[in-house]
């Protein structure tokens, strides 16, 4: 993988780095193209994963990010080396956008030893700590307190690192959210919780809509209860996300105080790749949101601003297809993990004492 994988850590193109350091986000042509390439990579990856699932090559659960790409792409543009990212189980884009090798991500889905966590976690547990990806968790809400702990540790260690903590609308009715938000607000009051709360509000917790989950449907307002400031952003518009992402991360880095952004988005793919009957929503609704597809919107902008033409867009899409074909082949051809992996990593340190059987 080349440019599209060089996230904004210390990779990236120099001119872009400069423009970002200035605070205001210059969504110049080059930057928009870079974002487009990333979003196409994620979309193409997810479509290939869905095919792999239907072919029976991917087991367990598979939750794809199709429709929501602008959210993670925009926020992770503001990622800086040393920051930590944590999310729930719709986690493929976060791993990819942080620079995880798509081959190792796909191999993980395929349950191979070359996977990003050696075939031991699968789709829901992608980790790439070197690149700031701290998981990948399967229990809705369960990961949220961890992110608050990360942020505390970052201040304890006297750094200006921050945590990007992703959660879905469905997690916000869980006690873990409320307990963690309370701690974040409390510790953040005196600058000890540099945590960016990113609500990926795709409007459904599995098949239950926000309105059928809570009487307080203004999700951002829930943060008021914990003294955490917040705002909303159009999560289908990567430029809008980008602006919020850079502004808020900068502020959090400076103040050490948490901040929440509710990104309104929509998952046009089913909740899980095995969900064929979507009784909880209408085809019309999906169609309506597909018209606001984040990739489509960005393509429109690129053409309108004469940054790329149709042919150039097609070229990127083709290139990504070829890349993902290679990725899929790699995953397919990789070996399953060796049997001894069953008992490794159960414990840290010398005593893997349950491993002899």
């Amino acid at each position: 993988m080349s440019a599209e994988n060089e996230h904004t850590g210390d990779g990236g193109v120099e001119t872009q780095e400069e423009s970002r350091d200035g605070g205001a986000v210059a969504t110049d042509g080059e930057h928009l193209v870079e974002l487009y390439r990333k979003m196409v990579l994620v979309r193409t990856f997810e479509e290939a994963a869905q095919r792999g699932f239907r072919q029976g090559k991917i087991g367990g659960y598979l939750h794809v990010y199709i429709g929501q790409e602008a959210v993670a792409t925009g926020f992770l543009d503001a990622y800086r080396e040393g920051d930590a990212v944590i999310t729930a189980y719709r986690d493929h884009p976060h791993a990819l956008l942080l620079g995880g090798d798509p081959k190792s991500v796909m191999a993980e889905l395929y349950g191979k030893g070359t996977g990003i966590v050696k075939g031991k976690g699968g789709s829901m547990h992608l980790f790439d700590v070197e690149n700031g990806m701290y998981g990948g968790y399967g229990i809705v809400g369960g990961h949220i307190p961890l992110g608050v702990g990360f942020a505390y540790a970052m201040k304890y260690q006297e750094t200006d690192r921050i945590t990007q903590l992703y959660l879905g609308d469905g997690a916000m009715n869980n006690g873990a959210f409320h307990e963690a938000a309370n701690l974040s607000g409390l510790w953040g009051k005196d600058g000890w919780n540099p945590c960016l709360w990113i609500v990926e509000n795709n409007q459904y917790g599995m098949g239950t809509s926000v309105a059928r989950s809570t009487a307080m449907t203004d999700l951002g307002a829930k943060f008021d209860a914990y003294g955490i400031e917040h705002e909303k952003v159009d999560g289908m518009d990567v430029e809008a996300v980008l602006e919020v992402a850079h502004r808020t991360t900068e502020r959090i880095r400076e103040t050490g105080q948490p901040y929440a952004v509710e990104a309104l988005t929509y998952r046009t793919a089913p909740h899980g790749a095995g969900d064929f009957f979507e009784k909880y929503r209408t085809k019309d609704e999906v169609k309506k949101w597909r018209q606001r597809d984040p990739l489509g919107q960005l393509e429109h902008k690129l053409i309108e601003r004469e940054i790329l033409d149709e042919d150039a867009l097609e070229e990127i899409r083709t290139e990504m297809k070829e890349t993902i074909d290679e990725v899929t082949n790699f995953a397919d051809e990789s070996e399953q993990p060796p049997m001894e992996e069953l008992y490794t990593d159960v414990y840290a340190g010398e005593d893997e004492y349950m491993g002899e059987e």
């Binding site: 700590v129 307190p145 990593d345």
Partner: protein, 329 residues
């Protein structure tokens, strides 16, 4: 060696480790300003300040999860559960994350976390405040579970726990915080996975852990006096890892065993001990292994009922007599 209480020994271990390593910090309910419900952390706020002695809201799932996050970032948190009964509110964090995240991250993270607090009953706290959770947490790979009973061991095992790169469930004998014993001033790390022979004997092995070890010691005295029976008492100390060898070697010598636990009879540590003995020392056994357990009911409040709900000297002594084929009076 100076005498110290269980409470003082525990506190001393934490102070020593906090002085040794800036990454060690404490979190819990009322551990700072209040001084700790059981005064284990009394005075530590003044010594180490509010960033290292963190008073939390009543929010077990939240602060346990946050501590896991801190541990993943390289800190070494010691979380106080005011009592282990409240840990069910944090069980998702402990079981689903602390125990497993190293595995499902393919070994990319460590969770050097200690969760400690009083465990077990005996002080009339009734149903919701009385649990003995060794078997519950001992079930999950990824956790280490220890249950020290002497002041010496509570200090030494806390030191080991803090230095361990894994999540450690540290189950204190809550009813014994005031008991005294010899504790060295210097660091005395006690390794996990090594049982202690609390009393040597030849005729029968009494196997237990936590508060019930003291009960077994009293029973052993009684058996010697009344029955001329020499009982060996094993204090498991560490539940996961479990020292199978010490159990098996002792039974090979005595040929008879009684496993004593405060928790309920079924699916408990005593069952595990009995299974290990029949697997590893079947040919040496002269009698079936007996289990002595708590009554199959939630813990009652009234003193007489509570006493009946936990193993008593008579119950253990009678079990020993049964495996010795002595007449039970």
């Amino acid at each position: 060696m100076p005498e110290k209480t269980y409470r003082e020994a525990l506190r001393e271990a934490m102070v020593q480790e906090m002085e040794n390593d800036d990454n060690v910090l404490l979190l819990g309910e009322d551990i700072g300003v209040y001084g700790g419900t059981h005064l284990i952390t009394d005075g530590l706020l003044d010594m180490f300040g509010p960033r290292r002695v963190v008073d939390t809201p009543i929010s077990e799932g939240g602060f346990t999860g946050a501590a896991i996050g801190m541990a993943m970032m390289g800190l070494k948190p010691i979380v106080e559960m005011m009592t282990w009964n409240f840990s069910f509110l944090a069980a998702d964090q402990i079981i689903q994350t602390a125990a497993k995240v190293r595995y499902f991250s393919g070994g990319q993270v460590e969770v050097p976390l200690v969760i400690r607090g009083p465990n077990g009953g005996g002080v009339q706290l009734s149903a919701q405040h009385t649990h003995s959770l060794e078997n519950f947490y001992g079930h999950f790979p990824g956790l280490k579970v220890v249950s020290p009973v002497t002041p010496h061991d509570v200090k030494g095992m806390m030191i080991t726990a803090v230095r361990d790169p894994n999540p450690v469930i540290f189950l204190e004998a809550g009813a014994l915080y005031g008991t005294k014993g010899e504790v060295p001033e210097e660091e005395n790390p006690v390794p996990f996975g090594e049982a202690r022979i609390a009393r040597e004997g030849d005729d029968v092995t009494l196997i237990s852990y936590g508060r019930q070890v003291n009960l077994c010691m009293r029973v052993a005295d009684k058996l010697e006096e009344d029955d001329d029976v020499s009982a060996e008492v094993i204090d498991l100390r560490s539940i996961r890892p479990l020292d199978e060898e010490t159990i098996v070697e002792s039974v090979k010598k005595t040929h008879r065993a009684v496993a004593v636990q405060e928790q309920w009879r079924y699916f408990g540590v005593a069952s595990e001990v009995a299974a290990i003995i029949q697997e590893e020392a079947f040919d040496y056994l002269d009698a079936p292994v007996e289990r002595v357990s708590g009554a199959e009911a939630p813990a009652p409040y009234a003193r007489n009922l509570e006493l009946a709900a936990f193993p008593s000297e008579d119950m253990v002594a009678d079990a020993a007599r049964r495996v010795l084929y002595e007449k039970v009076v």
